[in-house]
């Protein structure tokens, strides 16, 4: 049985130590993530940036109990999820973690409301309770007039809002977002950044974002630079590296005030 989402000791939600993922063997060995240490506290927004192929998504999936690390440990809410059985991990994902994807990843045959409701159903919330909560979350995301729309008729920004509502539906401790603005235009990208900030600061959840998008540094409490599977501390600060890196945002995208 999982404990309530009260957070670990000293407010630490996520603690990764020596996290390593090796793909392949022999001459084809690739160390996608190489001995990464990471601690994230309650309400904190951490942006992990880095060049393509740096291991950002691999790191995110290991933190998200989706991919087993080759070595190292991940503790969420004080529990070592790397030592858990495979059959225990779905429970970790549905109760402690929320996911936001680059490609939105909604279930295409379900309406916006049902997408959120289904995530609640997975966690054992059913019937009217699930429907009302899903409705409230979508209303909070400004999707009140799109509840029964199918994903294919929603804009990218609207789909991502539904995905964010789904991510927080089960009141997770930690929200993991993988390139959440990569497929959005300037305005919708801005909206998503604001929502992720609110999730952390108003709802007191931890948010780890993997992104190339320099706009996110505006809301991040910390920016970490991952390169060749390792966090780079030497040289220019991570935020400066990110600013210097090619942006995933549209060319006309300007710095956004997040007031």
């Amino acid at each position: 049985m999982l404990e309530s989402n009260a957070g670990g000791k000293d407010g630490v939600i996520l603690e990764a130590r020596g996290l390593t993922k090796v793909f392949g063997s022999g001459a084809a060995t690739v160390r996608a993530v190489d001995g990464v240490d990471l601690t994230v506290s309650r309400g904190e927004i951490v942006l992990i940036a880095g060049p393509s192929g740096a291991g950002k998504t691999t790191l995110l999936t290991m933190i998200g109990a989706v991919l087993r690390p080759t070595s190292g440990s991940v503790r969420i809410n004080g529990h070592d999820i790397t030592s858990m059985k495979e059959s225990q991990l779905p429970r970790v994902r549905r109760h402690w973690l929320g996911f936001v994807f680059q490609t939105f990843s909604l279930l295409e045959s379900l309406s916006a409301l049902e997408n959120v409701e289904a995530a609640l159903n997975f966690a054992g919330v059913r019937g009217r309770a699930a429907r009302e909560r899903a409705k409230r979350l979508l209303l909070d995301m400004g999707m009140g007039n799109r509840l029964h729309f199918m994903p294919r008729v929603l804009s990218g920004g609207e789909r991502q809002r539904v995905a964010i509502a789904r991510a927080v539906a089960n009141d997770p401790l930690l929200v993991l977002a993988d390139e959440p603005t990569a497929n959005l235009d300037s305005k919708h990208g801005h909206d998503v950044v604001v929502l992720l900030r609110d999730i952390a600061k108003k709802q007191d959840r931890s948010v780890v974002i993997v992104s190339h998008d320099h706009r996110i540094r505006e809301v991040a409490d910390r920016v970490l630079w991952l390169e060749d599977g390792r966090f780079k501390d030497a040289g220019a600060p991570a935020a400066e590296r990110l600013a210097a890196a090619p942006s995933a945002a549209p060319p006309d995208d300007q710095a956004i005030s997040l007031g």
Partner: protein, 381 residues
């Protein structure tokens, strides 16, 4: 009266409280063409299974109905016969007297039967005519098989096919027979039964031998009496009512290989379409199964979605198939009077069993595919 505690309301409340998003149903209905094709496949399979089986059972049922109306506790027949239509008449009046003299035998009724070609308004109509010569008093029910002289009782299928009704006249060798009744006499696909008076039968067919003896036994008479009958009549076998029914129905078993082939082909067609639908619905949504895994859906829940998809189509197809088969059962007699159908609840249950089997078989491969979906693949754009 307060309706607050009405059982139906309680059930509705419970259903609403446990309601979950019907992902399986939504997935299926997202591609209505495939859904309808699979539904049609299962429907066709169930329909064919039930129709073929109902024809088979219909003929067996006709034999059972016919034999039910005959008097007697034991049946004397030619040894080694299979069926009652094509066995030879071999029992003479001497045999009748000999059997009647055996202790424990109360009465010996003689059953005559043969195929005969009647004329109806210049048209030849084949009828398998039977006649019972009673050896004692018959019950009112048994007297149904004993029409008056110069009359014939014909099976309703024959009446429908030839447009005959009570009062019409059928000729045999210049002898007129008035249709005295139309009812469930017997219809075994290859022949429809008619009943005439035994004296008419004797006249038409020149004092024939009987095909069977229908022997009524004294109370307390048993195996010894039956053995004595078998000894007294050369080349005969003595059957109980149940055994005689089995012997009568034996030729129907010749249809079983055909029925099995039709059933197997039906199941193959139904299973193929169902499997194709469930498999393609799963493959097309493999990524969504990965998404659900990331969102924390347990493996069993995902298997349940696949199985529900299979079950939804299969059970809808089963319902439609049963409905169509029952409809066919109602109209078959009008369309083709020779086809007698009889749907038993056991056959519907068997079809349900086949449907459940198809459900599980069709879900097997997709479930294996879902089990292999790597949730990490969802993060690969």
């Amino acid at each position: 009266m307060s309706t607050a505690n009405h059982p139906l309301q309680s059930v509705l409340r419970l259903t609403r409280a446990r309601y979950e998003v019907p992902i399986a149903r939504r997935n299926l209905l997202a591609d209505k063409v495939k859904f309808l094709a699979a539904l049609g496949g299962v429907t066709l399979a169930v329909l064919l299974i039930l129709v073929v089986q109902s024809l088979y059972q219909g003929i067996k049922h006709e034999y059972a109905s016919f034999i039910d109306t005959l008097p007697g506790d034991a049946f004397v027949a030619q040894r080694g016969i299979s069926g009652i239509v094509f066995s030879n008449p071999f029992l003479t009046r001497t045999n009748t007297a000999e059997v009647a003299s055996i202790p424990g035998v109360k009465a010996v009724h003689r059953l005559y039967g043969r195929m005969a070609s009647f004329q109806v308004e210049g048209k030849e109509v084949s009828v398998y005519v039977w006649a019972v010569a009673p050896g004692g008093v018959l019950t009112p029910e048994q007297e149904r098989t004993f029409p008056r002289r110069g009359t014939i009782i014909i099976d309703r299928s024959l009446a429908v096919r030839e447009g005959l009704s009570p009062g019409d006249v059928m000729q045999y060798g210049g002898n007129p027979f008035v249709v005295a009744g139309v009812g469930p006499v017997g219809n075994i696909l290859v022949a429809q039964f008619g009943l005439i008076h035994p004296d008419d039968y004797a006249l038409l067919f020149a004092n024939p031998s009987a095909k069977f003896f229908l022997v009524s036994l004294e109370p307390g008479a048993g195996a010894d009496t039956l053995a004595a009958i078998a000894r007294r009549v050369p080349a005969s076998s003595v059957y109980s009512r149940e055994q005689f029914l089995s012997v009568a129905q034996e030729p129907v078993g010749d249809f079983l290989p055909i029925i099995r082939v039709v059933v197997v082909l039906s199941v193959i067609v139904g299973l193929a379409l169902l499997s194709l639908m469930v498999y393609s619905a799963t493959i097309e949504r493999a990524r969504e199964y990965g998404i659900m895994k990331v969102l924390g859906a347990s493996s069993w829940r995902l298997y349940g979605i696949v199985l529900s998809q299979s079950a939804l189509i299969a059970l809808a197809g089963f319902g439609a198939g049963v409905g169509l088969a029952l409809g066919f059962n109602r109209v078959a007699g009008d369309i083709a009077p020779e086809f007698v159908t009889y749907i038993r609840w056991q056959d519907i249950l068997a079809a349900l069993g086949v449907t459940v089997g198809m459900t599980l078989a069709a879900a097997y491969l997709p479930i294996n595919r879902v089990a292999r979906v790597d949730p990490a693949s969802v993060f690969r754009a």
